[in-house]
């Protein structure tokens, strides 16, 4: 268990740093944050009231301390200026559909990346390898929201296979309407994964034990599935963990394309109403989510690979 204690210990300064960064977000506002939130026409009285509410009149050190104590002891990440609700409750009411979308996107990413990487690695430097290697190059250059629009155009408008926006109300609908958004996120996610997974697979395919298995005349499919894939699964899981931050950010943008009412929608509506505490809260919660997922990934990788536990 010592390795897990180590990763847990490493996560503490990061979590602390995340909270400080989110606190500083209000400090990088040019001029008076209260005026920025209320707009140019605001009266001095209302600005003073907001400064008081946000605690802006205290010394900066004291403000930071108050924020840190609030976050870590009471999970208090602020109160919405628009609805007066706790930010955490607001996020909790929206996070479900976002998490469902992220989960589905991870499944699609694996379904896209693993077969493509396998094809490329087993046909190294052949025509199939070159075709697969073009995919990440194009994938990285496509803005995710534009991919979403193209998918809507093809599957929603031209073929009429799938719903093009929102989340339906009947029980079977939510999953169906999340297919296109999840596919969009997955297409954006898979390029780096395909690249690194192909490298990993090539390394495993070159390993002594695979050469031995081949010499023992085991069928190539059984070698691939039972031995090579299993050994490449460890780096694949940790790669997914590393990229989860990117995945989460992309998901929020994609919600906008498909009019999904999740955390992304909350972020964008809070931006238009200049609800600063909610924007800060979403930034904080998503980063903390990433810290937790990284920890879980470490745990998972160690469970899959005994060498890491021994180290």
């Amino acid at each position: 268990m010592r390795w897990f204690g180590r990763s847990l210990l490493a996560a503490i300064p990061v979590a602390l740093g995340v909270v400080v960064c989110v606190f500083l977000l209000l400090r990088i506002v040019p001029g008076d944050p209260a005026r920025m939130i209320l707009g140019e026409q605001a009266t001095t009285a209302s600005i003073d009231a907001l400064r008081e509410q946000l605690g802006l009149n205290l010394p900066v050190g004291q403000q930071l301390l108050r924020y840190l104590v609030g976050v870590f002891t009471r999970a208090d990440i602020g109160t919405s200026l628009v609805t007066d609700q706790p930010v955490l409750a607001l996020i909790a009411s929206r996070v479900g559909v976002t998490l469902l979308l992220v989960g589905l996107a991870v499944v699609f990413t694996v379904l896209i990346a693993v077969p493509l990487a396998l094809i490329a690695a087993t046909h190294k430097d052949g025509p199939l390898d070159h075709v697969v290697r073009i995919f990440p190059t194009i994938g990285m250059a496509m803005p995710a929201f534009w991919v979403g629009l193209i998918l809507i155009l093809v599957f929603g408008v031209a073929l009429r296979w799938l719903p093009v926006g929102g989340v339906g109300t009947s029980p079977a609908d939510p999953l169906r309407s999340l297919i296109l958004p999840a596919l969009t996120v997955a297409i954006g996610m898979s390029p780096p994964l395909i690249r690194s997974l192909r490298e990993q697979l090539l390394e495993v395919l070159d390993a002594d034990f695979v050469v031995t298995l081949k010499a023992a005349r085991l069928g190539s499919v059984s070698i691939l599935v039972r031995h090579v894939l299993r050994n490449a699964a460890v780096p694949a899981v940790s790669l997914l963990g590393v990229n989860v931050a990117y995945l989460l950010g992309g998901t929020l943008v994609i919600e906008k394309v498909f009019a999904i009412n999740g955390m992304g929608a909350l972020l964008f509506s809070s931006i238009s109403t200049r609800d600063f505490p909610v924007v800060q809260g979403i930034t904080l919660v998503s980063a903390m989510g990433v810290v937790v997922i990284s920890l879980v990934t470490d745990l998972l990788v160690a469970a899959l690979d005994p060498r890491i536990r021994a180290a």
């Binding site: 960064c21 190059t137 194009i138 250059a141 629009l149 950010g249 929020l252 943008v253 906008k256 931006i271």
Partner: protein, 285 residues
């Protein structure tokens, strides 16, 4: 191994160029990028119409001989707007990449060379920034400091250096384990001199390859911010706002939101291929 010294002397440069011309990725990438940059720079000459002139009677026209990409809802020529948008978006992407490029290089070199406490602190700062979902952080910073071009520059100056600092740090660490770095210091050279004259030239090719990826990422981010209404503000043409405005007509006039995206993809593929090609020619892989 390094080709940086080759830039000064003409003959090795010619040799380098010959090798570069044999890399299909580099040639294709340079060609695509040169095309997009040339069109952007020459926008006032090559764009058939003014990008902001409206013609309300001739709105939403399909592609034709007089308007190759059709017209938008305000009757503006889409081809001209795609060309002028490239000028805006490429300029912002390149300018926004400069400061993080230098910061990433310096932080990576210092962190990797000095090790110890400095390295630990920089490592934790990097870990913290990496925990933030990229787009959430960029959107939050742009929201705080103000939308538009300046917001993008500030946001990138704050977070854009992270990934290059990580890679340069690892590369510097690896170089420091080779005997010659210790030998250079042991031979009486100062730390700054070892870093600037000996380590820097050796990590520079890697940094330039990374720069191509960074410019690509920033360009996609600028377009994404534009789509979200947080980037380049109208009426200045920008690929992102064009796609967002055209989304309304997706079902009936698909070319309006699609074509600006194609321009983004061509530019991005050019940058990406150029980066891959340079990595091949400099044998970084």
């Amino acid at each position: 191994m390094s080709t940086v010294s080759a830039v000064a002397a003409p003959r090795p440069f010619v040799r380098w160029l010959r090798r570069a011309l044999r890399s299909p990725a580099l040639v294709a990438g340079a060609f695509l990028l040169a095309f997009m940059v040339a069109v952007s720079v020459l926008a006032p000459v090559v764009a058939p119409y003014d990008p902001e002139t409206q013609n309300l009677g001739g709105g939403l026209a399909a592609p034709s001989a007089s308007h190759w990409f059709g017209t938008d809802q305000l009757g503006r020529d889409i081809l001209s707007r795609v060309i002028w948008a490239g000028r805006t978006d490429l300029r912002i992407a390149v300018l926004a990449a400069i400061i993080p490029f230098i910061t990433g290089l310096v932080v990576g070199l210092v962190s990797g060379y000095s090790g110890g406490r400095v390295d630990w602190v920089i490592g934790r700062v990097v870990d913290t920034f990496v925990a933030f979902p990229f787009y959430v952080l960029i959107i939050a910073i742009v929201f705080a400091v103000g939308t538009g071009e300046n917001g993008i520059f500030i946001a990138y100056a704050l977070v854009g250096w992270i990934s290059s600092a990580r890679v340069i740090r690892a590369k510097t660490k690896a170089l420091c384990r080779e005997g010659w770095v210790g030998a250079a210091y042991g031979g009486g050279l100062s730390h700054p001199r070892v870093v600037a004259r000996h380590l820097l030239p050796n990590v520079l090719p890697q940094a330039v390859v990374l720069l191509m990826t960074e410019i690509l990422l920033i360009m996609v981010a600028v377009v994404t911010l534009g789509y979200l209404g947080l980037g380049v503000q109208p009426p200045t043409p920008d690929w992102g706002t064009m796609i967002s405005d055209g989304q309304l007509f997706l079902a009936t006039k698909w070319w309006i939101p699609s074509l600006p995206g194609v321009a983004v993809v061509i530019t991005g593929v050019g940058l990406s291929l150029l980066g891959d090609g340079l990595a091949d020619v400099w044998r970084l892989r």
